[in-house]
């Protein structure tokens, strides 16, 4: 059946779908900019390992499974130290999670999220060299956390490989980490 509203919207959409020609010189401008940059992914010493590490974001922490997850991070991220102190009484269910951000040009990065009241002074991230990723280790109990990286005191950055916080419409970008509970 003919619907005048659908017809009008379709006319608009068809009009907007027409090809748009962007200045072809844009290609040259992009290429000029990127030639000055390092090869993406080509210089990272742990390339694939970093990507593998950064992919999973859903953790289910049964006692053994949780230990395995933490151990895997510790084994691959040889440079980082896991917390050496035992968990405080009452925090026995918490596990250490390592957050990693590749931002070679940044001079200062903080991890902010629900777990530190979004306080940029509480979890500064560290790196071992100018080309190394920024890392921070945070003990977390099971739950759902929003988090983001606060770069150079002015820029919020969501984790590009983690789920975006869906209830974060037009606010600062943030990501979601779900730490599952286990028996």
């Amino acid at each position: 059946m003919f619907d005048p509203v659908d017809d009008l919207i379709e006319r608009i959409a068809r009009h907007l779908r027409r090809p748009v020609q962007i200045d072809p010189a844009l290609d040259a401008r992009v290429m000029r900019e990127i030639t000055a940059l390092p090869t993406p992914g080509g210089t990272a010493p742990l390339g694939k390992a970093w990507r593998w590490l950064r992919r999973p974001r859903q953790f289910t922490l049964t006692p053994l499974g949780g230990l395995a997850a933490v151990a895997a991070v510790a084994v691959v991220v040889l440079f980082s130290r896991m917390p050496s102190t035992p968990p405080a009484p009452g925090q026995i269910d918490s596990r250490a999670f390592q957050f990693i951000l590749v931002a070679p040009r940044a001079t200062h990065v903080s991890l902010v999220g629900d777990f530190n009241d979004w306080d940029a002074t509480r979890t500064p991230m560290r790196r071992i060299g100018s080309d190394a990723p920024w890392t921070a280790v945070v003990p977390l109990v099971p739950g759902r956390y929003h988090y983001a990286f606060f770069v150079d005191g002015s820029r919020w950055l969501a984790d590009p490989s983690a789920p975006v916080a869906r209830d974060d419409d037009y606010g600062e970008p943030s990501s979601v980490l779900t730490v599952g509970g286990g028996s």
């Binding site: 509203v5 009008l8 919207i9 608009i12 959409a13 009009h15 907007l16 779908r17 090809p19 748009v20 020609q21 962007i22 200045d23 072809p24 844009l26 290609d27 401008r29 992009v30 290429m31 900019e33 990127i34 030639t35 940059l37 090869t39 993406p40 992914g41 080509g42 990272a44 390339g47 970093w50 990507r51 950064r54 992919r55 590749v102 590009p160 490989s161 975006v164 916080a165 869906r166 209830d167 974060d168 419409d169 037009y170 970008p173």
Partner: protein
Amino acid sequence: MGIHSVGTSDAALVRRVQTGDTGAYADLVGRYRDRLGRYALHMLGNREDAEEVLQDAFVRAYRSLARCDDPERFGAWLYGILVNRCRTAGARASRRARRFVHDPAALETAPQAGPDGRTEWDDTVRWALARLPPESREAFLLKHVEELEYEDMARLTGAGISALKMRVKRAREQLQTMLKEAERV
């Protein structure tokens, strides 16, 4: 996702870039330039801003290419970067407008620029699109112009499917109202 590639696959090009073949990135830029440029242009309503944002998105994507976990979906990943850059640029433009536009009424009644090949319908559509709230404009363009599924839109925008459906519905209603108004004038 409504983003497709032909010839050498995106994944193959991405891998070549990652091994140091910068020229392969030119192929990716050429492949997506006009398609993404169309979205940026409709979203921002200004060619200069759109091209600036597009260039920025391509450079950011290159910098972050190591974090593109699924090179087969490079197009969708790049699209996500562009959508975010458009949001930032749109917010900035909105702040700029608030700062400098002192007499909106006078601007609204100001004479239009002379004929430059655009039709009256073209001007009307641009005018109506520009008056939509950014989140409605974004949802409308992704759904009706880029022809994405709601699931893909949710992945790109971070908004829930119900919220996106509502935004598209509102956009359709608002466009209908505005175009009817325009026809009466």
